[in-house]
């Protein structure tokens, strides 16, 4: 084995093992420990088809700068065993200069992995664990990883100690012994995957998933009621909100289905409480009729759609960006509303909070299009700034003896809303075409007026700079939305290192279409690469319907479950000659 100490700014580690082996726990410990020492990072998990207890892989990436997407190629693969590991093999290609750690008693290394050309180190993980009373294989694996990437025993133990606090000292000691054994083993090899110096200017990392961040954003934005029906990969939004809303004096109710959950949220919001629900594609489909009611009756509501592979039940545990169509166009009749999309895991907080603000300010249903890649990824991020997005509904109080006109025609289209309990404000919210007072009407002028008003309030609203993120400069542009932003940014960074200047335009506001701002951002573009994760090219199609993109256009897209990576995007630009 040659001595190759490879200086790196980002290291990727995969830990695989069959059911019960604890590979995910090992990965989590590694991530948190890295965070405590001042690094950044991200972890995804890949699990087998079993409901639970099947094989699992922790996919960890650590870096000395914030990371927004997982690795496309791995430096280090630690296999606690190889059971069914071939299922994952395609998801974690190894670098040729990478390292594979295998237990010799686990049988042969799967072809797809060994063919990577990476070096193989045989380490008897099981035996090492057995030698330690109460020792566990995954703690050996954690120690090994720590050794190869330069984390210390103490770094790891500061995390493990807390986690095992109520399991007693013996458990903690056993873990320490395992970690030490793992690190000791790593010393036998000359491989080192160093991340570089930790960024200590910004201490105080947060460790958070996209699903948690959206929930937190919503609460920050003023949401105090949630209705829930579980669905993968959105359930964690609801599971995080449940105790958290209680903490802040709100409530979550579990509904019997999505028809109920959306209506519970609308009912709560009608009562004055900013409200939310979260779901995925199948649930969103069921909510569309009532989202139309919210639009017509002008009741604010936030619906988070954590997208997964479609159509129909599709693949619940994998990511896709294919609910753009339904979110924008899935209403019967014309129902102006808002659609926004977080760009990265960290941005879930920002966008969640913004969504609550938008919904309340405009009294409009607001759909947040997150996806599995954001929602179920855990990242180490900087402590976020405070944002000034708060739910601020224009309410009504009696100021004259005039009868209250719930749907009064105002210049900005937003009509003051009486909250039940307000004297003199009684009205009936209605999904029927209605007059200014809210009375059912079949009059042409009422329909036209209210349609104009609802269109106006959404179209004329000032979305400011939040509509999207623009980074870099150049005549070559990558135009994308949502979770592709992370890999696209990374692609642009690596292209920059090669001397290729590329600008990124990432849309956070999807509907209403931010035509002016987008056109402005694309001015002078000679080449525009549109990137998205959908089979039919929903985003491309949507762009085409709404604006004319300057210059030459290419379109890189595919359906899930395989996420689009930074390297692929960069290759698209490189190949464009």
């Amino acid at each position: 084995m040659t001595n190759k100490a490879i200086p790196k700014k980002s290291v990727s580690v995969a830990i695989v093992g069959s059911g019960g082996a604890g590979s995910i726990t090992a990965g989590s410990i590694l991530l948190e420990a890295a965070g405590k020492t001042g690094w950044y990072g991200m972890m995804n998990r890949s699990v087998g088809p079993q409901i639970r207890g099947g094989e699992a892989a922790a996919l960890v990436r650590l870096a000395n700068h914030p990371v927004e997407c997982t690795a496309e190629k791995y430096d280090l693969l630690i296999a606690i065993d190889w059971k069914n590991a071939d299922r994952f093999a395609a998801e974690m290609p190894l670098k040729t200069e990478g390292l594979i750690i295998a237990d010799p008693t686990s049988g042969p290394i799967p072809e797809l992995i060994s063919s990577s050309g990476a070096t193989v180190a045989e380490i008897p993980i099981k035996e090492l664990a057995k030698e330690i009373p109460g020792g566990r294989e995954n703690m050996i694996a954690a120690g090994l990883a720590a050794g190869f990437i330069g984390l210390s025993v103490d770094d790891l133990m500061s995390v493990i100690g807390t986690k095992l606090a109520n399991k007693g000292q013996a458990a903690i000691d056993a873990s320490r012994a395992c970690v030490e054994a793992g690190i000791a083993q790593s010393r036998n090899y000359d491989f080192r995957f160093e991340i570089g110096e930790a960024d200590l200017r910004h201490k105080g990392r947060w460790l958070i998933t996209g699903n948690e961040a959206i929930g937190l954003g919503a609460i920050r934005g003023g949401v105090r009621f949630a209705a829930a029906y579980p669905i993968t990969p959105a359930t964690e939004v609801l599971e995080w909100l449940s105790p958290s809303l209680t903490e802040v004096g709100g409530a979550l109710v579990q509904a019997e289905d999505e028809l109920s959950s959306i209506n519970m949220a609308i009912g709560a919001s009608f009562g004055g409480q900013p409200s939310i629900t979260a779901t995925s594609g199948p649930g969103l489909s069921l909510m569309m009729e009532s989202l139309g009611l919210a639009a017509a009756s002008e009741v604010p509501i936030v619906v988070v759609d954590v997208m997964r592979v479609g159509p129909s039940t599709g693949i619940a545990t994998k990511s896709e960006q294919s609910d753009l169509n339904i979110a924008v166009y899935g209403f019967h009749g014309d129902a102006p509303h808002v659609v926004v999309a977080p760009l990265t895991v960290a941005d879930c907080l920002y966008t969640g909070q913004w969504a609550a603000h938008l919904a309340e300010a405009m009294q409009v249903p607001t759909i947040v299009l997150s996806d599995q890649a954001l929602g179920q990824s855990r990242v180490l991020m900087k402590r976020p700034a405070n944002l000034s997005f708060f739910a601020k509904r224009k309410t009504w109080e009696r100021t004259s003896e005039e009868p209250y006109l719930r749907y009064a025609l105002t210049a900005d289209g937003i009509s003051p809303m009486a909250i039940p309990g307000t004297t003199g404000g009684q009205y009936t919210a209605d999904g029927l075409t209605h007059s200014l007072r809210g009375h059912p009407s079949t009059r042409r002028s009422d329909q036209q007026d209210q349609m104009d008003k609802r269109h106006r309030k959404v179209a004329d609203f000032d979305y400011g700079v939040h509509w999207g993120e623009i980074t870099g400069e150049g005549e070559t542009v990558i135009l994308t939305w949502g979770s592709i932003t992370g890999p696209a940014r990374e692609a642009i960074r690596s292209l920059k290192a090669e001397g290729i200047k590329v600008k990124l335009v990432a849309m956070r506001l999807i509907a209403p279409f931010p035509k002016e701002a987008l056109d402005q951002s694309l001015k002078g573009a000679k080449r525009v690469l549109v990137v998205e994760q959908s089979h039919s090219g929903q985003f491309r199609n949507y762009l085409r319907a709404n604006t004319e993109i300057p210059g030459e256009i290419r379109h890189f897209h595919r359906p899930g479950p395989h996420n689009i990576g930074a390297g692929e995007i960069a290759a698209q630009i490189r190949d464009w000659k």
């Binding site: 958070i208 009608f270 004055g272 009684q426």
Partner: protein, 277 residues
């Protein structure tokens, strides 16, 4: 919220100036009257009351009251009402709809609202037909009732709303006849007062598509037995009655659902600690 002041209101204070679209003679006029009378008697000011409905002739009722109202989509009144009551526990919440809205498309919310036992009152104006869509059989329609959609009748045995309500956990179950304004008013008053989920079926004739129901005034009769708090006993009685028995048939003691809104009311910033490492 404004503190309830007893007996200072009349039914007129709960009635809006909008003319109902109902056919002359429709039973729903009487339900509106009984409801507004009951609300006057209860003495809660109209601005502290919300009347929530779905879609149907019967579901048009909220705008005819002078309370806050929500005329939602077909079948979802109970879900709207649940969210509203949990988030605004100080309001008096009534859900009011029809047999099609409540028992056909809304059947799932019905059984789960009974089970959830939130403190709301659910009034179903049962005319055994889809009135608004011009005369199709509903779940409570007799099996041999002839219609364009089911020539010769559906052949299905009718849905027993009161039995289902009991079996699902409703805390108050009653039946009334729209034409009997006095008793209907009384029952609504009791239903609203009773904690938890109260269900009132009001037989309310559709004079247009079910002219035969005009005869209901002759066939309804007060329940011959006393009200009970034993669900099994109530179920047995209702299961074997003729569907025309009126009165309060069950008044239970199950504690109403208390959503966990009783949180500490901490600042958001405290929630954020959990993410710090």
């Amino acid at each position: 919220m404004n503190a309830p002041t007893k007996n200072k209101f009349s039914a007129r204070d709960f009635t809006s100036d909008l003319t109902p679209v109902w056919c002359p003679g429709c039973g729903d006029f009487h339900v509106l009257m009984s409801t507004t009378k009951a609300l006057a008697e209860l003495g809660t000011p109209p601005e502290d009351i919300a009347v929530i409905s779905g879609i149907g002739c019967s579901s048009r009722i909220p705008a005819y009251t002078d309370c806050y109202g929500f005329h939602g989509v077909h079948g979802r009144s109970l879900a709207l009402a649940t969210g509203l009551k949990v988030a605004s526990p100080g309001l008096t919440v009534l859900a009011m709809s029809g047999d099609g809205d409540g028992f056909s498309i809304g059947g799932n919310h019905f059984i789960h609202a009974c089970r959830r036992n939130i403190d709301i009152t659910y009034i179903v104006m049962d005319n055994r037909v889809y009135g608004m869509t011009k005369g199709q059989p509903s779940p409570t329609t007799e099996p041999d009732w002839d219609s364009a959609l089911s020539p010769g009748g559906t052949g299905l045995s009718p849905f027993h709303p009161l039995v289902i309500a009991l079996a699902s956990g409703a805390n108050f179950v009653a039946r009334s006849f729209s034409g009997d304004i006095k008793n209907t008013t009384k029952i609504i008053v009791e239903a609203v007062k009773h904690p938890g989920f109260s269900f009132v079926q009001i037989l309310s004739p559709c004079v247009t598509f079910r002219p035969d129901e005009k005869d209901w005034k002759n066939t309804v009769h007060p329940a011959s037995v006393e009200e009970t708090d034993d669900p099994a006993r109530a179920a047995r009685r209702i299961m074997t009655d003729d569907g025309m028995n009126t009165g309060i048939l069950y008044r239970g003691n199950r504690a109403p659902y208390k959503p966990q809104v009783t949180g500490k009311g901490v600042e958001t910033i405290e929630l954020e600690r959990q993410f710090e490492i």
